[in-house]
C-alpha cells in the first residue's frame, strides 16, 4: 500500500496530481482513493490531496502518516513533514522549498527544482507533472505510461492541446 | 328540450362551501366555463392555494394537487416541466401569492413558465379569520390591524401585478373584478385570454381578480361589491397591465 499526500498552493495543480496518481493506480488494477481538501482553502490558500494506491480494498481514505509526501511549497513542508514515517520519502519542489538538515537526517528527500524546469519547458503550470515524473521513478508505484494515459482523463477534450507539454514534463521529471 | 344554461362540464355538482357573497364561486365558474370553451378539460392540471380555495379540486373534473402555502408556482413549474403539452394553472389568494409565496411567483413569472395564474385579491385573509393581507388598504381594519393599516408600521398595499409586469417573462397580466355582471364578463374574457397565452406557449400569464369577502370585510354582500368599485379600484385600478400576446 502506498499512501501519498500531495500539498501546495491552490492553483499548483495539487488535485490534478491526486487524480493522475489515482487514475494510474487504477490502470495497474489496484484499489485507489483520492481525497482532496476542499473549502476556502481551494482558492489561493493551501491545497492537499490524499491518495492511496493499494492491493487490498481501502478501508479509510484518510492518511495519518504518508509513505510519500509531495510538497510544492514551503508552507506544506512545514505543515506535513512531521507526519512522514521514518522510512518515508519527501519529494520537494526545491524551486520553492528549502529543506533543513533535521528533516534530511530523518527522511529520504528528493529535490526537484520543478518551477525552474517548468519555465525551461515554457509553461510554469506543468511543474506538478515534473514532480509526478520524479515520483514515478523514485517509487516505482505507478508506470510513467499510465500517468501519461491519465492526462486524457484529467483534461476535458477541449483542453487536449495541453497534453503534449504535460507529457514532456512527465518525461523531464522522470529523467532527473 | 334545448339546454341553454347549465353547470360547466369541467365542474362537479358539489355545492360550493364558500360564504354568502364570496367571489370565489364566481371565479371558479368562470374558470370552468373557459376550460369548457377551450376544450381542455382532459389536459388541464390545477394547483389550488392554501386558503379558502384549498379544496377547489372538489368542484372540478380536472387533475389537481395541493401545494404548501405560497409554493404553488413552484409545484406548478414542476408539473409543467414534466408535461409541457398540458395546461397548468395556479389559483392563489393574496396571502398565498403576495405574502408567503412572493419569491415563487416572481421567479416563475420571470422564468417565463408557461403557466396561468388566477390571483384572487380580496385584501384580507379569509380562512384564518380576517387578518391583514399584503394587499390590505391603508386604514383598512382587520383583526391584525384593529386601528386600520398604518403605512408607517406595516407598509403599503403591494401591487404584485405591476411588479410582475416589469419582468420579461410575463406576456399578459390584467386586473379584473367579479363584483358586478359587467365586470364578470370582462373577467371571463381575461381568464380565457390568459389560458390562450399558455396554449400558444408564449410565457407567463396572470389575471388578478378583485373579489369580495363580505364576512371578513364586515359588510353585506352588496356593500362589499360596491366597495370594490368605490374604494378598492382606487388603489388597484382595473384594466390590462401588460399585454405582449400580439407581439
Amino acid at each position: 500500500m502506498q499512501r501519498i499526500l500531495a500539498a501546495g498552493f491552490g492553483g499548483q495543480g495539487i488535485v490534478s496530481m491526486g487524480k493522475m496518481l489515482a487514475c494510474a493506480g487504477m490502470k495497474e488494477g489496484k484499489h485507489v482513493s483520492a481525497l482532496p481538501s476542499y473549502g476556502p482553502e481551494m482558492r489561493g490558500g493551501t491545497a492537499n490531496c490524499s491518495v492511496i494506491i493499494s492491493e487490498r480494498e481501502i478501508a479509510s481514505p484518510f492518511i495519518a502518516h504518508p509513505d510519500t509526501l509531495i510538497v510544492m511549497n514551503q508552507a506544506s513542508l512545514d505543515k506535513f513533514s512531521k507526519l512522514v514515517l521514518n522510512d518515508g520519502l519527501i519529494i520537494a519542489n526545491s524551486s520553492l522549498v528549502e529543506i533543513n538538515n533535521d528533516i534530511r537526517t530523518k527522511t529520504r528527500v528528493v529535490e526537484v527544482p520543478a518551477n525552474d524546469m517548468a519555465i525551461e519547458l515554457g509553461n510554469l503550470k506543468v511543474a506538478n507533472m515534473i514532480v509526478l515524473g520524479a515520483f514515478a521513478r523514485e517509487t516505482g508505484e505507478v508506470k510513467l505510461d499510465f500517468l501519461k494515459a491519465a492526462l486524457e482523463k484529467i483534461f476535458p477534450p477541449r483542453r487536449h492541446n495541453l497534453i503534449l507539454i504535460n507529457v514532456k514534463a512527465l518525461d523531464r521529471g522522470f529523467k532527473i | 328540450m334545448k339546454r341553454i344554461f347549465g353547470r360547466p362540464r369541467s365542474m362537479t355538482n358539489k355545492p360550493f362551501h364558500y360564504c354568502p357573497g364570496c367571489g370565489h364561486g364566481i371565479v371558479h365558474r368562470l374558470i370552468g366555463e373557459v376550460i369548457d370553451e377551450l376544450g381542455i378539460q382532459d389536459k388541464t392540471i390545477g394547483v389550488p392555494p392554501v386558503g379558502c380555495a384549498v379544496v377547489m379540486y372538489h368542484y372540478f373534473n380536472v387533475d389537481m394537487t395541493e401545494a404548501a402555502h405560497g409554493r404553488t408556482p413552484a409545484v406548478a413549474t414542476g408539473i409543467k416541466r414534466v408535461h409541457p403539452d398540458k395546461v397548468v394553472f395556479t389559483y392563489q389568494g393574496d396571502g398565498d401569492l403576495a405574502a408567503i409565496g412572493t419569491g415563487e411567483i416572481i421567479h416563475a413569472a420571470n422564468r417565463g413558465e408557461r403557466l396561468t395564474t388566477i390571483f384572487v385579491n380580496n385584501t384580507v385573509y379569509g380562512m384564518t379569520g380576517g387578518q391583514m393581507a399584503p394587499t390590505t388598504l391603508i386604514s383598512q381594519k382587520t383583526t391584525t390591524t384593529p386601528l386600520g393599516r398604518d403605512a408607517r408600521l406595516i407598509g403599503y398595499p403591494i401591487k404584485i401585478s405591476e411588479m410582475l409586469a416589469v419582468t420579461d417573462g410575463t406576456i399578459y397580466i390584467e386586473r379584473v373584478a367579479v363584483n358586478k355582471p359587467a365586470n364578470i364578463i370582462k373577467a371571463k374574457k381575461a381568464i380565457k385570454k390568459a389560458f390562450q397565452v399558455q396554449l400558444e406557449d408564449r410565457g407567463f400569464s396572470m389575471v388578478e381578480v378583485l373579489s369580495q369577502c363580505p364576512v371578513n370585510l364586515a359588510m353585506t354582500p352588496q356593500k362589499a361589491a360596491e366597495w370594490i368599485d368605490n374604494t378598492l379600484t382606487k388603489t388597484y385600478p382595473l384594466g390590462v397591465i401588460k399585454d405582449k400576446s400580439g407581439d
Binding site: - | 373534473n61 413552484a74 409545484v75 421567479h107
Partner: protein, 370 residues
C-alpha cells in the same frame, strides 16, 4: 464488467440518478455538493431533461413535489442549511406519498457552520425533520460506488413505496474520488403511476392532497402510512458486518466514519483486540435487530460519529442495556482518525465496567475479558 472511471462522490450520485431514469432535477447552489448540481445541469442538458436552478431550496423541493406529482422521477440535492429549508416540502411530499430522491451532502452546523464534513443531520433525516409523523427511507452510503448504486436504487424504492428517499452523505464522500463502475441499472417492474397528474382524460380526476378535514380521515391516512413504514422495516434493512463472528467488541458507524472504523478494526485486530464493525447502510429503517443480537455476545459497543452523538441513541435503543454503549465523536468538521478510535478502545479496555455499575444490574449475557 464495464470499465471503471475515477469519479467524485457528487458526480457518482448524479450519474446514479441519470442511469435510474431521473430527467428532472431542481436545486439551489450550496457547498459541498455543487459538483452534483453542475453534473446534473450538464447531463440533463445532453439528454434533453429538465434542470432548473431554482430561486431557493423551498422552490426546489416544491418543484420536485410538482414533477413527482406529474409522474416523473425527480431529485433535489443540497447540504445541511439547505436541507433545513426543504423540510416543509419534504413533509408535504411524505404526506402526499409522492416518490422522490433528496440528497444531503452534510456539512457542519449549527447555523451556517462551515463547509467541512459532518454527520450532524442524522436526527433530522431519520427522526422526521419536518412536521407530522412521517419517515424518510434514509441511506448512508460509504463509497463512491455505493453513492452511485444506492442513488439509482433510491428511485426504485421511492416509486415502490411512494415515499421520499434521502441519500445522506457528507462533504468528504461528495469530494472523494474513487473508481466507479457505471453499472446498468436493472430493477423489477413497478406498477404504472395511475395516481399521477396527467390530465383527466377518460378517467376520473386525480387529486393529490395532504389536507384531510373529514373526521377520522387523517387518522386513517396516518395509520396507512405507518403500516407502510412497518412494511419497510421488514423489507429494507441493509448493513455491512465486518469481522463480527468472533468479535468481543463492536464498533458501529456509517458513511465516512465507517470507513475510518474499518481501518481501526484491522489495527485493533493486529494488536490482539477482537474488534468488529457493524455499518448500517439503511439508517432508517435502522438495523436494530443485528445490533441487538450481537450485543449479547460482546463486552461493549462503541459508536463513532461526526456529531455530538446522534445515531448512538438508536444503538442504545437496539442494545437495550444488554451491554454498555460508548461513544466517540468529533464535531464542527472534525473527522475521527483511526488512531483516535484505537486509543479510545484501548482506554475502554483498561477500564473495568464493574466500576461503573453494580454487577446485579448487568445483563447476564455480558462477558468480561479475564
Amino acid at each position: 464488467m464495464s470499465e471503471k472511471v475515477l469519479m467524485c462522490g457528487n458526480g457518482a450520485i448524479g450519474e446514479g440518478a441519470i442511469q435510474a431514469g431521473c430527467r428532472h432535477y431542481f436545486g439551489y447552489p450550496i457547498t459541498p455538493q455543487n459538483e452534483l448540481t453542475a453534473y446534473m445541469a450538464e447531463r440533463l442538458g445532453e439528454l434533453g431533461g429538465v434542470f432548473i436552478q431554482s430561486e431557493s431550496e423551498l422552490a426546489a423541493i416544491n418543484m420536485v413535489f410538482g414533477a413527482s406529482a406529474a409522474g416523473a422521477r425527480a431529485m433535489t440535492s443540497s447540504s445541511s442549511p439547505g436541507i433545513s429549508l426543504k423540510q416543509e416540502g419534504i413533509s408535504y411530499i411524505a404526506g402526499a406519498e409522492l416518490p422522490c430522491v433528496i440528497v444531503n451532502v452534510m456539512r457542519a452546523g449549527p447555523g451556517l457552520g462551515d463547509i467541512t464534513p459532518s454527520q450532524a443531520d442524522y436526527f433530522q433525516a431519520v427522526k422526521g425533520g419536518g412536521h407530522g409523523d412521517y419517515r424518510l427511507i434514509t441511506i448512508g452510503p460509504a463509497s463512491v460506488q455505493e453513492l452511485y448504486d444506492w442513488t439509482a436504487r433510491a428511485f426504485y424504492l421511492a416509486d415502490k413505496y411512494r415515499n421520499p428517499v434521502m441519500i445522506l452523505g457528507d462533504g468528504f464522500l461528495g469530494q472523494m474520488m474513487e473508481p466507479l463502475e457505471i453499472r446498468k441499472i436493472k430493477e423489477p417492474k413497478l406498477p404504472e403511476k395511475t395516481w399521477a397528474l396527467t390530465g383527466a382524460k377518460d378517467r376520473k380526476a386525480n387529486i393529490i392532497r395532504t389536507l384531510m378535514l373529514k373526521v377520522g380521515e387523517l387518522e386513517e391516512h396516518n395509520k396507512k402510512i405507518q403500516n407502510k413504514y412497518k412494511r419497510m422495516e421488514k423489507e429494507l434493512i441493509e448493513y455491512e458486518a465486518v469481522l463480527t463472528d468472533d468479535a468481543e467488541i463492536i464498533l458501529v458507524a456509517y458513511g465516512t466514519c465507517a470507513r475510518v472504523c474499518k481501518e481501526s478494526v484491522f489495527l485493533l485486530r493486529k494488536e490482539g483486540i477482537k474488534a468488529g464493525l457493524i455499518r448500517p447502510i439503511t439508517l432508517w429503517p435502522y438495523p436494530s435487530a443485528i445490533i441487538r443480537k450481537i450485543s449479547n455476545n460482546v463486552r461493549y459497543v462503541l459508536t463513532v460519529e461526526m456529531s455530538a452523538g446522534q445515531m448512538v441513541e438508536d444503538v442504545k435503543l437496539a442494545v437495550l442495556g444488554r451491554c454498555p454503549v460508548h461513544f466517540y465523536g468529533r464535531m464542527g468538521g472534525g473527522v475521527p482518525t483511526s488512531e483516535e478510535i484505537v486509543k479510545k478502545v484501548k482506554k475502554l479496555e483498561a477500564h473495568r465496567p464493574e466500576d461503573d455499575q453494580p454487577l446485579a444490574g448487568r445483563h447476564k449475557g455480558t462477558k468480561r475479558k479475564e
